[in-house]
């Protein structure tokens, strides 16, 4: 061969990769007429740079046989140390030159198909170069790995050609693989994973050798590593975090659909609108109750109507004649004669700031629940003088029991409007002192008999409400000091 090569020089065209004998066509490419050619020498083969691999069967038409290609017997994996303890044997590796500069490699990997990568029963995959079959086979393997452990980040042992590779360490096996369009790596702790173990009737076995079954795979898929000493973490202790394993197992994100875990945690068993446990239901119900705490309460009063409220000076007859004191029933701070307060249309007065912050949320007098917007409309509809007369009318109203606007608030907005209206339209305007509170020592029996402290169902519009009585007993009605009949303490 060597003598033959020396006799006839082979020329290589860098343009079209054609080859010919120099003594036949010279140094110009006979195919593309390029002059970018080179004589192939034994110690320098330009075809190596192009990774040109000659076809297996040189054309018969060429009289002398082609020299053997230097890469013909080259195995790119030959010198790579096989760190895989269970490297995939390659069967029927085939090389085909499918064109200039291209090599098509096909082959079949025969791999043991066991969950932890230990040499088990080897089940050869079908000798099939169909990429979909390869993909399907590897997907099955990948799913097994996922079911058994967790997907991990970049790993080693990746091999081209769409095959999986397994690497074993003490108690840990790493799998990875990639192929056209996909790549995966998984790590499996065999301390946690129990592979499919055939029964061995000849040797004693621990009593609780688990066998891979659907339930286990599912639970591990859903829960991640499972503590063998207890149920899933979500079922064991609702107060603990989901990935708060106390076992000697590696921690990591749940392998699959971590968002499902909250569903199975009793402390958090809600997903969207659905709840799955009584606790979760209670929690959501509490939330709703909180949110709608004031749901039925009157809405806010307009800033305009709040700003229209008259500001008055505290006069002597507005304070307790004995102590000379009065306080704002919202902040419970004392007010003094001459101090400025804001009076609502119903006649109750408060610190402007205090009542303003309340009215901005609820249009309702803190004392009698009359809305200021509507009371103003009513009052203005009648006559402006009537409102001004309220303070002076209070003495006339003393001791005359009135239908309490308070009691009527609980039925409905329309009823409360009626009550409010009646309060305004009544001969004596609704002045705190004019409500005719029961005596301060109104006995508990009457309070209990009323049974009307709770809700609209039992509340009679004509009987003084419980809260009102309580306020008469303990609360300090703002204007009540002006009423000698009202024992506010």
């Amino acid at each position: 061969m060597d003598s033959h090569d020396r006799q006839r020089e082979l020329v290589f065209c860098h343009q079209c990769s054609d080859e010919w004998y120099r003594d036949e066509h010279g140094l110009t490419c006979p195919a593309c007429h390029s002059e970018f050619t080179e004589v192939i020498e034994p110690d320098h083969d330009p075809r190596e740079d192009q990774l040109q691999i000659p076809a297996d069967d040189p054309p018969e038409s060429v009289p002398p046989p082609l020299p053997p290609h230097p890469l013909r017997d080259h195995n790119p994996w030959a010198n790579i140390p096989d760190h895989e303890d269970d490297g995939p044997p390659l069967n029927r590796l085939q090389w085909q030159s499918s064109g200039p500069g291209r090599v098509h490699i096909t082959g079949t990997f025969v791999r043991p198909f066991s969950p932890n990568g230990s040499p088990g029963a080897r089940s050869p995959q079908p000798n099939n170069t169909d990429p979909f079959s390869m993909l399907a086979a590897n997907f099955g393997q990948m799913m097994q790995s996922i079911a058994a452990g967790q997907v991990q980040g970049p790993g080693h042992g990746a091999m081209g050609g769409g095959a999986g590779a397994g690497a074993g360490g003490p108690g840990v096996s790493v799998r990875s693989g990639h192929g056209p369009g996909y790549a995966w790596t998984s790590r499996t702790s065999s301390a946690r994973l129990t592979p499919l173990t055939p029964r061995n009737a000849n040797q004693p076995q621990p009593p609780d050798v688990p066998v891979d079954d659907l339930q286990r795979i599912l639970s591990e898929t859903l829960f991640g590593p499972m503590n063998p000493h207890g149920p899933g973490p979500g079922l064991r202790d609702p107060s603990r975090g989901l990935d708060d394993h106390d076992g000697p197992f590696p921690r990591g994100p749940p392998p699959l659909l971590g968002f499902l875990l909250p569903l199975l945690n009793p402390a958090n068993a809600a997903h969207g609108d659905a709840v799955y446990t009584q606790e979760a239901f209670d929690r959501i119900l509490s939330q709703l109750m909180e949110q709608n705490n004031m749901g039925n309460a009157p809405g806010p009063a307009s800033a305009e109507s709040i700003s229209e409220l008259p500001k008055i000076k505290i006069t002597k007859d507005m304070v307790d004649p004995k102590t000379g004191q009065a306080d704002c029933s919202i902040c419970m701070e004392d007010v003094e004669v001459g101090g400025e307060v804001t009076r609502l249309w119903c006649g109750h007065w408060f610190h402007g700031e205090c009542v303003g912050s309340w009215l901005r949320e609820h249009d309702s007098c803190p004392q009698c629940r009359m809305g200021i917007t509507q009371a103003r409309d009513q009052a203005q509809g009648r006559s402006g003088a009537n409102v001004d007369a309220t303070a002076t009318a209070s003495t006339a109203a003393n001791g005359a029991p009135q239908p309490s606007p308070w009691s009527g608030r609980r039925t409905s907005s329309s009823a409360s409007q009626q009550n409010a209206a009646s309060g305004v339209n009544s001969p004596s305007p609704a002045i705190p002192g004019a409500f005719g509170y029961p005596e301060a020592n109104a006995d508990e029996q009457s309070r209990r008999q009323s049974g009307s402290q709770r809700s609209s169902h039992s509340r009679e519009g004509s009987t003084p409400g419980f809260a009102e009585r309580v306020r008469g007993l303990f609360g300090r009605g703002s204007n009540s000091n002006s009423n000698p009949n009202s024992d506010h303490r």
Partner: protein, 149 residues
């Protein structure tokens, strides 16, 4: 956050002029949190029982009502098994002129006048309506079992 003067005043008055049958003691470390006891009203199935409650004054109190919850198990159509109370003045009928004292009196009165038509504990309310005597008997038993000191 400084404690509003109103809360201090209310607490002082609760101490100085306690309501018969009701105690409310603030926690030392959190003056907005009260340990409450309410005696069952006489001539009610809860008579003789002392019921523990917790009461918390939110940050925006008195613009929002106190949060109150029974800690003692009680059989009542308007109190559920978590101790939550269905009481209008604790919710939509709250008013800033109401106080801890008045709220606790309302709760005590609620014990004396259950309202099964506006239930929170549905099963209890159902039984209360269907067989009031049996329901009251159960309430007595629960009182004896859980609310006796």
């Amino acid at each position: 956050m400084a404690l509003p003067k109103r809360i201090i005043k209310e607490t002082e008055r609760l101490m100085a002029e306690p309501v018969p049958g009701i105690t409310a003691v603030p926690h030392e470390e959190n003056l907005r949190y009260f340990d409450v006891t309410v005696d069952g009203p006489s001539q009610s199935p809860y008579e003789g029982g002392t019921f523990k409650l917790e009461l918390f004054l939110p940050d925006d109190y008195p613009m929002t009502p106190p949060k109150v919850r029974f800690l003692t198990k009680i059989y009542h159509p308007n109190i559920d098994r978590l101790g939550r109370i269905c009481l209008d003045v604790l919710k939509s009928n709250w008013s800033p002129a109401l106080q801890i004292r008045t709220i606790l009196l309302s709760i005590q009165a609620l014990l004396g006048a259950p309202n099964p038509d506006d239930p929170l504990a549905n099963d209890v309310a159902q039984r209360w309506k269907e067989d009031q005597n049996a329901a009251i008997q159960t309430a007595r038993e629960w009182t004896a079992q859980y609310a006796k000191v």
